[in-house]
């Protein structure tokens, strides 16, 4: 199972975990499994069209999945996904 790093803003939706494991052979499948297990994450990750919301970036290891094959990008068990929403705290 791939690991998915959960950013601070999404942690309340996954019971406070910072990292979760999710099954799937593609980025889309892993994120769907995550949304299945933690339904509150679904609308934060996906738009109504089933695509990733544009304000959320997802990286496979260190590469933006949008420059790979998007949600179809193949994921291996040893891979880690990073979800990166915009942050703006400075104070």
């Amino acid at each position: 199972m791939a690991t998915v790093r959960i950013p601070p803003v999404l942690r309340p939706s996954v019971g406070g975990e910072r990292e979760v494991s999710a099954d799937g052979e593609s980025v889309g499948a892993v994120l769907s499994a995550l949304a299945e297990a933690h339904p509150a994450t679904r609308e934060q990750l996906f738009g109504a069209d089933g695509e990733l919301n544009r304000y959320v970036n997802v990286y496979l290891n260190d590469e933006d999945v949008r420059v790979l094959d998007g949600l179809d990008t193949v994921v291996r068990d040893t891979d880690s996904l990073v979800i990166l929403p915009a942050m703006a705290g400075g104070r």
């Binding site: 601070p8 304000y55 990166l84 942050m87 705290g89 104070r91």
Partner: protein
């Protein structure tokens, strides 16, 4: 019988290969390694353009910083040609294969009317204050002068701005602008270390100015005690070389991005939340801009920047100092800046993660020429009050 000093020097000079200033003048433009072996103060009063300063007393320990390749030609000079001959002898003993000493030294060079670099005269206090920078080949006097000439604008004298301002002031960044419309509050002092308990209630720009001047009176502080908006941003930022973004809200981040792309000013940007921080440099047209990374802001419920959030007090310190480091690297022109890369720091895990970020060929802002970005397009963003009210 042991030789006298004069005899010894004469003997060395006979062994060392000498070179006429006219020949050095030609080689100078071909990028030859030229080393000034006089004392630092003599170098500071004027030297050959592009020469490195390695005083003779430090020759053995520091020459490799300026001339790492022993097979390459090294041209040495001093004031009259005597010390450089002795230094050439030392370098030959160290295994340098092609060392020459310039005849007549700097005096003859100047008499012949060749070009000289007369650096800014730093005061004795400045030489002492920045002496640890002078000892770094990568910074040195040239780098220090760049720092003294630099103008850096800090957005916010808060969590990130406090440590950044402190260290940039200490490093001798000549002009620091500070934008902040807030006053010092007791709850700030867990992390905003540029302020003090006895300055609670004082405008942050004034409190920061005092701390900066107490640390380094060389630094000129420009104060902007208001919020940046579309009507004032271009005027405020236009004269700065680098902007340090530590703002706590999305609308200003987008506005700043659009304005800095238009003016081609690099932004060293950091954000913090809880135990985590992000850092990157957005250098317009060299790397991605903020809108390439996040073309649209998150909805209000996912944008925890509207109200007070918990943050570990040292975290803005960590991230702010990484920002300050990147600023200094950009000014001096050393190292590999964090352009096109985003660094994430997780304090609880004690881990860093680096992500690649790329220019978006379809970016609504930086895919176009700066002049094509109109006033109306800058900082287009949902109404901030409404945006935060919706977050509840």
């Amino acid at each position: 019988m042991t030789p006298s000093g004069a005899e010894y020097i004469k003997r060395i000079r006979e062994q060392v290969q000498e070179i006429d200033p006219s020949e050095v003048n030609e080689l100078l433009h071909e990028g030859a390694v030229v080393v000034d072996v006089r004392e630092g103060e003599e170098f500071a009063a004027g030297h050959l353009p592009g020469a490195a300063s390695v005083p003779r007393g430090y020759l053995e320990s520091r020459i490799e910083g300026s001339a790492p390749d022993r097979a390459e030609r090294v041209i040495l000079y001093c004031q009259s040609g005597q010390r450089s001959a002795l230094a050439a002898n030392t370098l030959t003993e160290l295994g340098y294969e092609d060392v020459v000493s310039m005849t007549g030294g700097y005096t003859l060079w100047k008499d012949r009317g060749y070009e000289v670099d007369i650096p800014r005269q730093l005061t004795k206090d400045q030489r002492e204050r920045y002496s640890r920078h002078f000892l770094l080949n990568e910074v040195g006097q040239v780098g220090q002068e760049k720092l003294l000439d630099a103008k850096v604008l800090l957005l916010g004298a808060g969590g990130l701005g406090s440590p950044t301002a402190f260290y940039l002031a200490a490093a001798g960044v000549g002009t620091l602008g500070i934008v902040d419309d807030d006053v010092v509050d007791l709850s700030n002092l867990q992390r905003q270390i540029i302020h003090t308990t006895d300055r609670i209630g004082v405008p942050k720009v004034d409190s920061a100015e005092q701390a900066i001047h107490d640390l380094n009176p060389d630094v000129k502080v420009n104060k902007y005690p208001f919020r940046l908006d579309a009507s004032n941003i271009m005027d405020v930022i236009k004269d700065y070389d680098i902007i340090v973004d530590g703002v706590d809200n999305f609308p200003t981040r987008y506005l700043l991005n659009d304005a800095t792309v238009r003016l081609k000013i690099p932004v060293v940007s950091a954000a913090i939340l809880g135990f985590e921080g992000q850092l990157s440099i957005f250098k317009p047209y060299d790397g991605p801009c903020y809108r390439c990374l996040f073309p649209v802001p998150p909805p209000a419920e996912l944008a925890p920047s509207c109200g007070a959030n918990g943050v570990l007090g040292v975290l803005p310190g960590t991230m702010g100092l990484l920002q300050a480091t990147e600023v200094i690297k950009l000014i001096v022109g050393i190292g590999d800046p964090l352009i096109g890369r985003l660094l994430m720091y997780d304090a609880l895990d004690a881990t860093t993660t680096e992500l690649k970020i790329r220019r978006d060929p379809e970016c609504p802002i930086c895919s176009r020429e700066p002049d094509a970005i109109t006033d109306e397009e800058m900082g287009v963003f949902p109404d901030y009050e409404a945006f935060c009210a919706a977050a509840g």
